[in-house]
């Protein structure tokens, strides 16, 4: 046992076997599949001069793609927080026929392949589509515009908000809202001052997760976007285009910018979740 204690002073002793082998396999597999390949991205970029890197990631076409990607993703995340909150509220607090089906449907964007979602949404929102045809006479084009991109991203992001807020709302102690009402608060006051603050960390986490997913999303967007440079071309598509032209350094440079953005989002999400956990423990 002396060896065990000496070797593993970075962990608490346990009678359960298999620590060394399971952690070893985990780290090896993680390294081979995720960490080494990802670091290859940074190694490749290190071979590019900074001037060239900067020129690639700030070219006019790339800058407008950032604007479209961030703009549509932010808009979609806000829409998801608004409707996601209503959907979650209805799922947790009310009983109505078809509730189980609606609850299951919320997960569909997780399970449905993005390419399938992409062509289905395009079929709906194209000028002759089931929904698009009603907007066409009004002069509103949905498919092949940033509006179409936003709808695809709302589709992709909704489950993140609902599934993050749902457990928090389910666990919420109703005594506070009962107390608020019995002390004379109106329904809106109770919602705004008692319930909403409790839900804020979860809503922000859901917002950040939906935003992070939307920024990198490719399959569901490219069909509905129309992909016109400067108008409806998203960042992931620019990476693909550069790869198809064998411009590997260009593709890698933009990928590094995106990857750093997603690491920042991941960091923010982790902070928000820690905050959310603390709030729930209190």
């Amino acid at each position: 046992m002396g060896i065990v204690a000496g070797m593993k002073n970075f962990r608490e002793p346990s009678v359960i076997p298999g620590f060394g082998i399971t952690l070893g396999i985990t780290l090896t597999y993680l390294g081979l599949i995720v960490l080494i390949p990802l670091s290859g991205l940074f190694i490749t970029t290190a071979g590019v001069s900074f001037a060239e890197f900067w020129k690639t990631v700030t070219s006019a076409r790339v800058l407008s793609a950032y604007r479209i990607s961030f703009g549509a993703s932010l808009a979609a995340a806000f829409i998801n927080v608004f409707f996601g909150l209503i959907v979650t509220w209805v799922l947790v607090r009310y009983k109505f026929p078809g509730k189980r089906i609606m609850d299951a449907m919320v997960d569909l964007p997780f399970a449905l392949p993005t390419a399938v979602a992409g062509i289905a949404l395009t079929a709906l929102y194209a000028p002759q589509g089931w929904i698009g045809r009603y907007f066409e006479p009004l002069g509103v084009k949905i498919a092949f515009t940033p509006l179409g991109i936003t709808i695809a991203l709302v589709f992709i992001g909704l489950p993140f908000v609902v599934r993050t807020v749902q457990p928090v709302l389910e666990d919420m102690n109703r005594e506070y809202e009962e107390a608020a009402v019995s002390l004379g608060a109106t329904r809106w006051q109770t919602f705004y001052y008692v319930i909403l603050p409790e839900l804020t960390p979860a809503l922000m986490t859901g917002f950040a997760m939906a935003l992070a997913r939307a920024l990198g999303e490719y399959g569901s967007v490219i069909f509905i976007a129309g992909n016109m440079p400067g108008v409806s071309e998203i960042i992931p598509l620019i990476i693909i285009t550069k790869l198809e032209q064998y411009d590997y350094t260009g593709a890698t440079s933009i990928a590094v910018v995106m990857l750093l953005a997603s690491f920042l989002m991941l960091f923010a999400i982790n902070l928000l979740q820690a905050w959310s956990r603390r709030r729930r423990d209190e």
Binding site: F10, R11, E12, S14, V15, I16, P17, G18, F19, T22, T26, L30, I33, V34, P37, L38, G40, L41, T44, F83, I86, V87, V90, L91, R93, K95, F96, A104, V106, D107, L108, L112, P113, T114, A115, V116, I119, A120, L124, W130, I131, V154, F155, R174, E177, E178, S182, I195, A212, G216, E217, Y218, F223, P236, I239, Y248, A255, M258, S262, F263
Partner: protein
């Protein structure tokens, strides 16, 4: 309106019209956003009748795409299943330094754009890449071939099983395992007789999600595929090609297979959840 009522009388559930407006908004929103696209897939697939639908699925390249997707999933899912169980064991049965970082790293593929997930393997194994020359000399092709598709799929589905198991096993703690060891169980007996029965539903759910994503992944495999008809096109890539060729009926027909897979996955998930919340699992 009788069957619209609150679970427990909540003071702010509001009058019936208020509940009706909120429920109505949700139903309309979910139906329009999520229900209609699913209906559209089947409507477009059957637009020219059942025989056109059946023909689309029996076309040579469609069959090849289905076969390739099954092969990719058959390799990627079991590997990630084994990894997921091993990683969850290491993380939940022991206390060690850096655990939170390890969990974050396992979740990392979720935060990476699918396009980048494919790109990293092109940089690693493609022509002019880090290992490219060696692979070329030894006549091994990874990128634009089946191995590349498999590796990219493993990357994107990497966290699914572990992510389902870690919270579940954390909640279950280690007392049962410790008792079994003290009673003389071996490591394997411990896993198959004590741990596995406790986690089987969560494990099954994780595998379902992992499989759905493995068969449906688009962005990452699109980058490493090379789009060689009949050779490196999985079902989603074949859908894209058919769609871009304006062969809409065939595109939606092939897409309907994946839609069915998604619907079955959700159905099983809903059934599993009612298992999860059986009295034995809820405290």
């Amino acid at each position: 309106m009788n069957n619209i009522s609150t679970k427990r009388k909540s003071p702010i559930a509001g009058p019936p019209w208020f509940r009706f407006v909120l429920i109505g908004t949700s139903v309309v929103f979910i139906t329009a956003l999520i229900g209609l696209p699913v209906a559209a897939v089947f409507a477009e697939a059957f637009r020219k009748g059942f025989s056109a639908y059946a023909d689309s699925l029996q076309a040579e390249y469609a069959v090849a795409a289905i076969r390739l997707t099954l092969i990719v999933a058959a390799v990627a899912v079991p590997l990630n299943l084994v990894f997921g169980v091993i990683a969850s064991w290491a993380i939940t049965k022991f206390e060690f330094y850096g655990k939170q970082l390890l969990i974050t790293l396992i979740d990392l593929p979720f935060s990476v754009s699918p396009v980048i997930s494919g790109l990293i393997y092109v940089l690693l194994f493609g022509a002019n890449s880090i290992f490219g020359e060696w692979l070329h000399d030894n006549d091994v092709q990874i990128v634009f071939a089946v191995p590349g598709l498999i590796i990219a799929t493993i990357f994107v589905t990497f966290p699914f099983v572990a992510r389902e198991l870690i919270p579940l096993m954390q909640e279950q703690g280690t007392e049962e395992e410790e008792a079994a060891i003290l009673l003389g169980a071996s490591g394997w007996q411990l896993f198959f007789r004590v741990t596995l029965p406790n986690i089987k539903w969560g494990l099954l759910y994780g595998v379902l999600l992992c499989n759905a994503r493995a068969m449906g992944e688009f962005g990452a495999v699109s980058v490493v595929s090379g789009h060689i008809k009949g050779e490196t096109n999985t079902i989603p890539l074949h859908v894209e090609i058919l769609y871009n060729e304006y062969n809409f009926v065939a595109a939606f027909a092939v897409a309907s297979i994946l839609t069915l897979l998604a619907l079955i996955t959700l159905l099983l998930k809903t059934l599993l959840e009612s298992r999860f919340s059986s009295p034995t699992n809820r405290h």
